[in-house]
Structure formats: C-alpha cells, structure tokens
C-alpha cells in the first residue's frame, strides 16, 4: 500500500488539510490487509515541513499543525504494518519528523534531512520521541541543537536513512526491492515484532509524545518566533 503526499508545487508542505487527510489514510492503511506500507512525496521533494504560512497572522496557529504532525507520527509508528519511506530531495523539519517514525527510510544523494527550525524560532522537540530510538541520543542532540541539514550520504552513515541509493534513478528500484523482501516475510511475526520494538523503545508512549509536543508548541508563542518568522517572510521565503 502506498501513501503519497500530493502537493508538489509546495514541496508537499504539511498544511492542516494535508495532515488531516494523511491521518485518515493512515487509519485506513492500518485496517488494510497489506503487510507493508510505503510513504512517499510527489515531485522533487519528500516534504518541506509544516506549512509556515499557517502562522502568518498568528504564529500560535502553528501549534494546531504541530499537534496533527505529532498525531501523524504516532499513527505511523503505531501502524501494525512495517512502514517504508521513499525520500527524494528534502525531508526537512516536519518532513523529517514523519520520516523518523518510519521503520525503513530510503534516500539518495540529493536527499536533505534535518531540523533547521531554530532559525525561525521554533523547536523540533516534537520529533524526539521517534527520533531518539532511530539515531540515538548523542546524534539527536547535535541534529536538533546544531540545526544543520544533512545530505543523503551523511544521513545514511548516521542511521537516519536505513537504505541509500547511489542515484535518484536507482531509488525506486531500491524501494521496490525492499518492499518486496519485506512482503515475503511472515506478516504476523512482523506485526508482533514491530509492536514489541515499539514497546521496548518507548516510541509509542503517549505521555512522552505529549511532553514533546507541548515543548514545540510553546515556542510558537514566543516573541522570538514572531520576529524570526516575520523576517523570514520579509526575505520572501516560506521557510
């Protein structure tokens, strides 16, 4: 089963509508008999993050987006099926958060991953509950605090990507081979193993997600975020 973010002109930025739809599709996927779920983005990028335009009038409205983002991450991680992300180009901030909840993450040399959100006064804390298990505490620290963006190869070495195609052309082939392999395994054993790993690494622990979300949401109400977002828009960027 394939879920595709479909707003390529805006590099699949996560709007309210996009996230609501994603949540519906994830719920449907969870009920489907498919044993592997694939998540991808249409166009040149996987996902450029939450749609900052939502906060133009009042940055606090970004909190609603963050809440849906957190739900989407939990929903991906909680899916009974294994989840494979196909990441071409950017998976930035909210895009990287979605990615961190996937079991397998496939990228290419042009893949760009990271959380440059402190530049607009926001915190990527919401991503930590799934990111922590995915790449380990010391890498989470440098990724979030240095707020750098990693290229595909660096992300692969750090474990943020589990699979790496030598070129964009090979990415589809790689993802299809992986999904085929996974579909050949015992689906019941797979479900049980994923659920057990979720329990072991605490990545579906709601209390943890709520704390992380509250931390990110708190930054949307600061004077700092207002000023940095303002200057970001003055410069003409959405991000």
């Amino acid at each position: 089963m394939v879920l595709r973010l479909e707003d390529p002109d805006r590099r699949n930025a996560l709007s309210m509508a996009m996230l609501e739809r994603l949540l519906e599709e994830l719920e449907a996927a969870g009920r489907s008999p498919a044993s592997v779920v694939r998540i991808e983005g249409a166009g040149s990028a996987f996902c450029a993050g939450i749609d900052l335009d939502v906060g133009r009038e009042d940055p606090r409205r970004l909190g609603d987006l963050l809440e849906l983002l957190s739900q989407a991450m939990r929903s991906i991680r909680g899916l009974p099926q294994v989840v494979v992300a196909r990441v071409q180009g950017a998976a930035i901030a909210g895009g990287c958060a979605l990615l961190s909840a996937c079991d397998f993450r496939c990228g290419e040399p042009g893949t760009r991953l990271g959380y440059p959100v402190p530049r607009v006064g926001l915190s990527a804390a919401v991503s930590v509950p799934t990111l922590l298990g995915t790449i380990g505490p010391s890498r989470v620290r440098s990724l979030l605090l240095e707020a750098s963006v990693l290229d595909g190869e660096t992300a692969f070495r750090s474990g943020l990507l589990t699979h790496f195609a030598e070129s964009l052309d090979r990415l589809t082939e790689l993802v299809e081979a992986l999904c085929g392999d996974l579909a050949a395994k015992g689906p019941e054993a797979m479900r049980r193993t994923k659920a057990w790993l979720n329990e072991l690494d605490g990545s579906i622990d709601d209390a943890r997600h709520e704390r992380a979300l509250a931390c990110s949401v708190s930054t949307t109400g600061t004077e700092e975020a207002r000023a940095l977002l303002e200057s970001n828009w003055t410069r003409g960027g959405r991000r």
Binding site: G133, I135, G136, L178, K185, G186, E188, A189, T193, W196
Partner: protein, 254 residues
Amino acid sequence: MSEPAGDRELVEVASSDGVTRVRLNRPEVRNAISRDLIERLMAVVEGIRADREVRVVVLEGSGRSFCAGMDLKQVMDDPVAMGDMLRELGRATIALRSIQVPTIARVQGAAIGGGCGLSGVCDFVVSHPEVKIGYPEIGLGICPAVVAPWLVLRIGAGNARSILLAGGTMDGERAHRFGLVDDLVPASELDSAVERLVERICSGGPEALRVTKRWLNELDGPRIAEQVMRGAELSAEVIRGQEAQERLRKVFAK
C-alpha cells in the same frame, strides 16, 4: 530426556590463568542450541559466577560455526517444548550477561538467530568478514522477541528495528558497521585477536573490572530480565501460530 552425546559434553569448559573458555560442542549441527545444550550452558555459567579466580570468559563454538541458532527441528512437533526452549534461551542470555567479568564471543562461520543472541550479550564480539550473522526469524514467521531487548541495548533501537524487521543475515563488514561485531579481523587472525583482547583485559585490575561490569549491567536497566522473559512468552505465542508452523514445516520438509 538426554540426547546421546557419548562421553562428550555439549558445552566444554576449561580454565587456566584466569581465562575460562566455554565451548559449544555440537559441531555436527553447527552447535545448534538444544535443550540439553542450554541446560549444560546454564550449569557452566553458574560455576563461572561462583569462581573468584576467573578474570575473563571466552565463549566459542566447535567446528566451522559459532552457533546456527535454536535447534527447532528437535521440538517441531511439540509447541510446549518450543515455548520451554525459548524461555530457557531467555534465561541463558540473562545468565551469560550476569557473569561478573568481561566476556568475549569468538565468532567463526555463523552466528544465527539465538546464536547471535548468545554472542550479542557478550561484552565483546570478535569475528571475520566472511561470517554469516543475523536474525532471519521473521522470514520463518518467528518473532525474535527474546533477543530484541539485548539487541536494542547493544546497537540502539533504530538499528535493531531495521535488522529484526528486515530479517535475513549479513556478512561481517555489515555486522561490524552495525555494532553486532566489535572487532573484525581476517579469519586466520581470529585466535590472535581474541588472545590480544584477553591479554588487554587481564592487564586491568580484576576488582575494577568486576565493579565496572556490574555497573554496566545495572545500566541495562531494572527491567531487562523481565523484558527478556516477556519476549520469550511473546515468541512462544507466535511460534505456536499457524503462520510460523506452516513456514517452519516448509523449511524442515526440504
């Protein structure tokens, strides 16, 4: 019921100068883990725990492979025995981990499934590039739940996730990158690499090493034993299911 092993011990143990060597000894089945083998391994580990002279333990396998994993064929038709075996594997990993001195797994040839589980609870894994290592359980419809808590501790939850959910096996290079192998050397240098490590460990203060090992084990968390044993129950439940039974029968019919 004891299997006919003649005069041979299923797990041999030999100590000299503070180094205790524990050798899995069913080379004709690549040291597959039977109930008798686990029972004997547990007794050996108990002995080591009581021995204040031991300074380092080397776990190894006779013949061409370290350990091919659980001997499921032996208990194929008895789901109760299968569950018991998984519980015993869980207890064996807990016992091995609780040895109060550094432990080294000398892994040649293969360390598969439960075999990789045994090497993975050791403090050091020394192996070579051509080794076949990993957790193919998922392909057999089996849930590798017993080894999962240890694997998460050893290589982190993200790596454990991608290895266990993808199943299959990998070579030594890849295992080394993941941290399943700590020391990767040419096969011909396996023994000398283990010896070097033994010497290095023995040059440390025995008391400091015991205290450090105990502290590191404490950092495994207060729930680790409980998690491993719950993993055994989960795994036992899955292996009784239709999916696992069908897949296993297909494999053993070959």
